[in-house]
């Protein structure tokens, strides 16, 4: 059966209608990307699927015992809270040092274990968030604009990492983006949302769809192609540590 399904989902904040008539299904191992302009309700949609906000109409069904790995768009850590990476990975369930070292190595930041979360660079921080999500051995990874703070090579290598993880673990990936140009090329489906589902399909189909064009405009005149990342070189910054 599918991991998560929504039927006729509607969501309101007060009198404001944020989402309506959303039918959605994600299967095991599928990569689905949700795109929509700012304020289109895509983050609310993700939060509804997570169970953070209760829908005002329709139903959400989750597979029994579903394990979710959630990577938030950003995470503000109060400067009053001293939080080493190792402690963060062990929230709320204690992990063994070995498991934490393994997952940090997997996401490409083996050196940050003892560092405080607030001292990480944007790219490292995002990878640590992903590492924590992976430790839950998720059936589905949910990513809310996971690359918003990264530069283009950073985005490419982050998405490559997600693809590798998906291949290794077989988990489904549901991510949200405001920009179709940086959508993972490996997406099985792209869903374009603006209060409701405007159109959906393979990435190149959505890009050509009139609904998508109407929503995002034709301003670029086709100058921007769907983001294709290069596998032959790596721009990722790994600043050498002083001393």
């Amino acid at each position: 059966m599918s991991l998560i399904a929504a039927r006729g989902l509607a969501l309101r904040y007060g009198t404001r209608r944020v989402l309506h008539d959303i039918d959605f299904v994600i299967e095991r191992g599928e990569i689905v990307t949700i795109v929509g302009p700012n304020g289109s309700g895509k983050t609310s949609f993700l939060r509804a699927l997570l169970g953070v906000v209760a829908p005002s109409g329709g139903r959400i069904m989750r597979a029994a015992g579903l394990r979710v790995g959630y990577v938030p768009q950003q995470l503000h850590i109060d400067p009053g809270l001293p939080l080493p990476v190792a402690r963060f990975l062990s929230l709320p369930v204690r992990m063994t040092p070995q498991a934490m070292a393994d997952v940090l190595a997997r996401v490409g930041v083996p050196e940050v274990m003892a560092q405080n979360m607030t001292t990480l660079s944007g790219g490292q921080f995002q990878r640590v968030l992903l590492a924590r999500a992976l430790l839950a051995r998720p059936d589905i990874l949910m990513l809310d604009e996971p690359t918003s703070g990264l530069d283009q090579p950073g985005v490419a290598s982050f998405y490559r990492l997600i693809e590798d993880v998906r291949r290794e673990t077989g988990c489904a990936v549901l991510s949200v983006s405001h920009d179709l140009h940086v959508v993972m090329s490996a997406s099985d489906r792209v869903i374009c949302i603006n209060g409701h589902i405007c159109c959906e399909g393979a990435p190149h189909v959505v890009r050509a769809a009139p609904e998508y064009r109407a929503l995002f405009g034709l301003g670029t005149g086709g100058a921007l192609a769907l983001y294709q990342h290069d596998h032959d070189h790596d721009h990722e910054e790994h600043a050498p540590h002083a001393g």
């Binding site: 169970g51 995470l75 850590i77 709320p92 002083a242």
Partner: protein, 272 residues
């Protein structure tokens, strides 16, 4: 041993420090400082009602503190502007309490004991209530520690991990009300929030993890209680403010120490 009023005072103070240490950390991390103030100030209203209806002071303050904490919690959830709302509620509760006490007929009410604490007057019964109240809060926080920490970090992350942040908020609200009720006798309504915030803030300078910060806050709280008690005995100063004065001095020292260490590190480089 418990016959000695000093022993009772010290035990009661230490017990409260064990509860306010870790709870105070959450107050700091969640930026609930003013929230703690509002709840504590409402305690005076609780005192007035307890005296008026002739019920236990502990019970009266706990019920009113809990009500205040719930109201604030609900209003916060509805997106009211928090510092204005809390400012209105905290001071209104205090003012209503003070006015209500003045209506009590012919009772000689020593209000300063409730405003500033009266740790040297802790009776055996008081001690029993304070020990169990503080023990309850400490147990509650230790039990929920990981869930509370996750919910403090991010409500969405908590949800994804199967934790209900609303329930964790309720745990903190409840703990806060109990702490207000048992700490009233120690530092008084005006300074309960200080006992929550100052040891935790001082501990922040020394700690590298949330657990270290909680333990350090307990140690600093205990030190403040002990030092304040000595100060109060030797110089006949009011006990509650004396405890807070010592805590403030510890905060000052730990902050200056942290600044100094950072300077030295900078000067001698990471290679050292």
């Amino acid at each position: 041993m418990l016959d000695d009023f000093l022993t009772r005072a010290l035990l009661a103070g230490l017990a409260v420090a064990f509860a306010t240490g870790p709870l105070g950390c959450f107050v700091v991390w969640r930026r609930m400082a003013y929230f703690g103030d509002a709840t504590a100030h409402a305690a005076i209203l609780g005192v007035a009602l307890a005296l008026g209806f002739q019920i236990s002071i502990f019970l009266g303050t706990m019920v009113i503190a809990l009500m205040m904490a719930m109201i604030v919690s609900v209003l916060a959830g509805r997106g009211w502007a928090m510092d204005t709302t809390l400012g209105v509620l905290a001071h209104s509760a205090l003012a209503f309490g003070l006015v209500a006490v003045s209506f009590l007929p012919a009772v000689r009410v020593d209000l300063s004991a409730y405003l500033f604490g009266d740790i040297l007057a802790v009776s055996r019964f008081d001690l029993a209530v304070i020990l169990s109240g503080a023990g309850l809060v400490l147990a509650l926080i230790l039990w929920r520690w990981s869930a509370l920490l996750t919910a403090t970090l991010s409500e969405d992350l908590a949800h994804a991990s199967g934790i209900d942040p609303g329930r964790e908020r309720l745990v903190l609200t409840l703990a806060l009300a109990v702490v207000v009720a048992v700490a009233l006798k120690i530092v008084g309504a005006l300074l309960i929030a200080a006992l929550l915030i100052i040891p935790a803030a001082a501990a922040r300078n020394l700690a590298r993890s949330p657990e270290e910060m909680g333990i350090a806050a307990v140690v600093i709280g205990c030190l403040s209680v002990w030092g304040g008690l000595q100060l109060s005995l030797v110089h006949d100063t009011p006990s509650g403010p004396s405890i807070v004065v010592v805590a403030a001095l510890v905060f000052l020292v730990s902050t200056l120490g942290a600044v100094l260490v950072a300077r030295l590190r900078q000067r001698f480089g990471a290679s050292g």
